[in-house]
């Protein structure tokens, strides 16, 4: 029983990582109706930027805020320079573009900061949280930030003009244009916000997994899985999806005899696909009705 509780707690702690990344995935999906394969690399690059600033003597929170701003601007810049020209191209061509961007960012990060792992500081400390050694104060802080982000996103999409305009632009571009929404800039804004949220995710994840150019590779797979499980249109779903994936994966690894440990990830993914077969839009996603 103790092992069970411990694995659930550890799963929640790891799930917070996935949840954080899943939020960024949902953000970009809201803006461009697609998954961005380079999202993890963008987050990794942002995290390296903040690390570099700290090496130059900028205090943590200063670097944090600067990185947020830089990532936001960087996201918009990438959209304007690389993906706006592809707006008319087929969707699959855009996906190829994401893969190209992945290669570019990963390769540059490796060249600039090399591949040795680096320690990354946490503002929350890493002592046991509320007496439990399984969840450190950093992981608790991470869960807190994720929930805070979730609330902010909810308010943004639900109650601000710009948030509503963005949803409209993503859902019904033609109609949105008719009511005077600049859909092109809404997409750019979506890229900027996704990059900023991604950078927060990166800065929270790095103290746990260590900073290196390939640190987001595994995280992104789980982030996608979590977002899809929760429903790509629902930030709340993405966060819950993250925790579910984290917990389930741990339990599968611990309790399924024989292959459980070796096939943790495939089993988790198989479960997600099973869920999708019955709820194609994810646990919390809106079912999409097609107009023919």
């Amino acid at each position: 029983m103790e092992l069970f509780t411990n694995q659930v707690l550890a799963g929640i702690a790891t799930g917070a990582i996935y949840a954080c990344m899943a939020l960024a995935v949902v953000m970009i999906y809201q803006a461009i109706d697609h998954l961005n394969f380079a999202q993890g690399e963008m987050a990794m690059f942002s995290t390296f930027l903040s690390w570099q600033m700290m090496q130059w003597g900028v205090p943590y929170w200063g670097a944090f805020v600067l990185t947020l701003i830089l990532s936001f601007a960087g996201g918009i810049l990438i959209e304007r320079l690389l993906f706006k020209p592809l707006a008319k191209a087929p969707v699959l061509t855009n996906v190829a573009g994401f893969i190209a961007l992945y290669g570019i960012i990963n390769s540059f990060a490796g060249l600039i900061w090399d591949f040795t792992i680096k320690q990354y500081p946490t503002p929350f400390g890493s002592s046991p949280f509320l007496g439990s050694q399984l969840i450190s104060t950093h992981q608790a802080g991470m869960i807190g930030v994720t929930v805070l982000l979730l609330i902010l996103l909810f308010i943004f999409f639900q109650y601000t003009r710009i948030g509503l305009a963005m949803r409209a632009a993503a859902a019904l571009p033609e109609s949105a244009r008719l009511v005077g929404i600049n859909t092109s800039w809404m997409i750019a804004l979506g890229w900027g916000m996704a990059a900023a949220i991604g950078s927060i995710a990166g800065m929270l994840i790095a103290p746990v997994v260590f900073l290196e150019p390939n640190m987001m590779l595994g995280v992104l797979i789980y982030g996608f899985a979590a977002a899809v499980l929760g429903g790509l249109t629902s930030p709340l779903g993405a966060v819950i999806g993250g925790f579910l994936v984290g917990v389930f994966e741990n339990l599968a690894g611990t309790y399924i005899p024989g292959v459980g440990n070796e096939l943790k990830l495939p089993i988790a993914l198989a479960l997600i696909i099973t869920v999708l077969v019955f709820k194609p839009a994810g646990l919390f996603g809106r079912p999409i009705v097609k107009r023919v």
């Binding site: 999906y29 697609h34 998954l35 690389l82 020209p85 592809l86 008319k88 191209a89 087929p90 969707v91 699959l92 061509t93 996906v95 190829a96 573009g97 893969i99 190209a100 961007l101 992945y102 290669g103 570019i104 990963n106 390769s107 540059f108 490796g110 060249l111 909810f154 999409f157 639900q158 949803r167 859902a171 019904l172 797979i221 996608f224 899985a225 899809v228 790509l232 249109t233 930030p235 024989g258 292959v259 070796e262 096939l263 990830l265 495939p266 993914l269 198989a270 997600i272 696909i273 099973t274 999708l276 077969v277 194609p280 809106r286 079912p287 999409i288 009705v289 097609k290 107009r291 023919v292």
Partner: protein, 338 residues
């Protein structure tokens, strides 16, 4: 977020390609074929090996093209089918001492069944969700291959070494050249069969589903059957390509069939032109040679150079090689009229 259900008029993810535009003219085909037949006589064995790999990856891209370009289903899991084909051939050759040529149809059939079964649950998924499901398959495959349970047959993490066949009938031909012509014959056979498939009743059903699933089902197309069939056919061809790949490389190991392979095949399809079967060969050339060019330009930044080259291609020709061919055809047409 809101309780209101969104109503979306979704454009099809894959644009419609008329079926006549899916192939090359007879004249052009013969020129390409002649080049493929004659070239090996003049080049080194290593180049012949590269050309063999070109055909093999070309087959795999073609298979994906039938699935995506033909029936509109997206897959990031082709590496899984490729791996199953490769291991089927390798295991039959090394453990059952079966002739290499006989292992290929078996690899094809095994993969067809695998793809068909996978297509069943995948039926309910589309777009991003299908992408994730296939992606999951691709990430799971290397882990399944090294599972202790199968280790006796698969060689586990160490993989299996495969013996390369000699030319038969006492032909004075190097192993590489023989394997090249062997692959070429199979490739041409599959290419012609694929074109005929897409022109047949089934092919029309694939394309109807791609262009508008609801309309297709209203016209009486058995959507479920044809979608799973497309998965099966695509997986089967990929499996044959995988088997050939195992023989050419003489080695199979889990590390050879990671998600990177699936991504490469996907890029090959985009660069070649989605839905344009001859483009598969162009796409295959892109994924084999462009990384070599990229590392020639810069070792440290080879990934970045590759990315930049890829961006250049999709900026210039967002519809891939198909676009180039179309433009060329138009120009040629004008010149002949004058």
């Amino acid at each position: 977020m809101s309780a209101v259900e969104d109503v979306v008029t979704e454009a099809p993810a894959v644009e419609a390609v008329p079926k006549r535009a899916m192939t090359l003219g007879l004249g052009t085909s013969l020129v390409v074929l002649a080049a493929l037949v004659i070239a090996p006589i003049f080049v080194k064995n290593f180049i012949i090996f590269q050309m063999t790999m070109l055909l093999i990856y070309g087959l795999a891209v073609l298979a994906l093209n039938i699935l995506t370009g033909g029936s509109g289903q997206f897959s990031l899991g082709q590496s899984a089918f490729y791996a199953v084909g490769a291991y089927t051939s390798a295991i039959l050759m090394e453990h059952a001492n079966m002739n290499y040529a006989l292992t290929l149809p078996i690899a094809g059939i095994v993969c067809f069944a695998f793809g068909y079964l996978f297509g069943k649950p995948a039926l309910r998924l589309s777009g991003v969700y299908l992408a994730l499901a296939t992606f999951a398959l691709a990430t799971a495959m290397p882990q399944l291959l090294k599972l202790g349970f199968f280790e006796h047959w698969t060689g586990g993490v160490q993989g299996l070494v495969v013996t390369k066949p000699d030319a038969p009938f006492g032909l004075k031909m190097s192993q590489d050249m023989w394997l090249y012509y062997f692959t070429l014959v199979i490739s041409i056979g599959i290419y012609i069969a694929s074109i005929n498939l897409l022109r047949s009743r089934s092919g029309r059903a694939f394309m109807a589903i791609r262009d508008n699933e609801i309309a297709a089902s209203a016209m009486g197309v058995n959507v479920a059957l044809y979608k799973t069939l497309a998965f099966g056919v695509s997986a089967g061809i990929t499996g044959v390509a995988g088997g050939l790949g195992a023989i050419a490389v003489q080695f199979v190991a889990p590390d050879g069939y990671t998600i990177l392979l699936a991504i490469s095949l996907f890029l090959g399809m985009v660069v070649g032109g989605v839905g344009w079967l001859p483009g598969s060969l162009v796409g295959s050339a892109f994924i084999i040679f462009v990384p070599n060019i990229a590392e020639g330009i810069s070792k440290g930044l080879s990934g970045a150079v590759f990315g930049v080259l890829l961006f250049l291609v999709i900026f210039l020709v967002p519809h891939g090689a198909r676009q180039v061919a179309m433009v060329a055809q138009q120009l040629l047409g004008k010149m002949i009229k004058k």
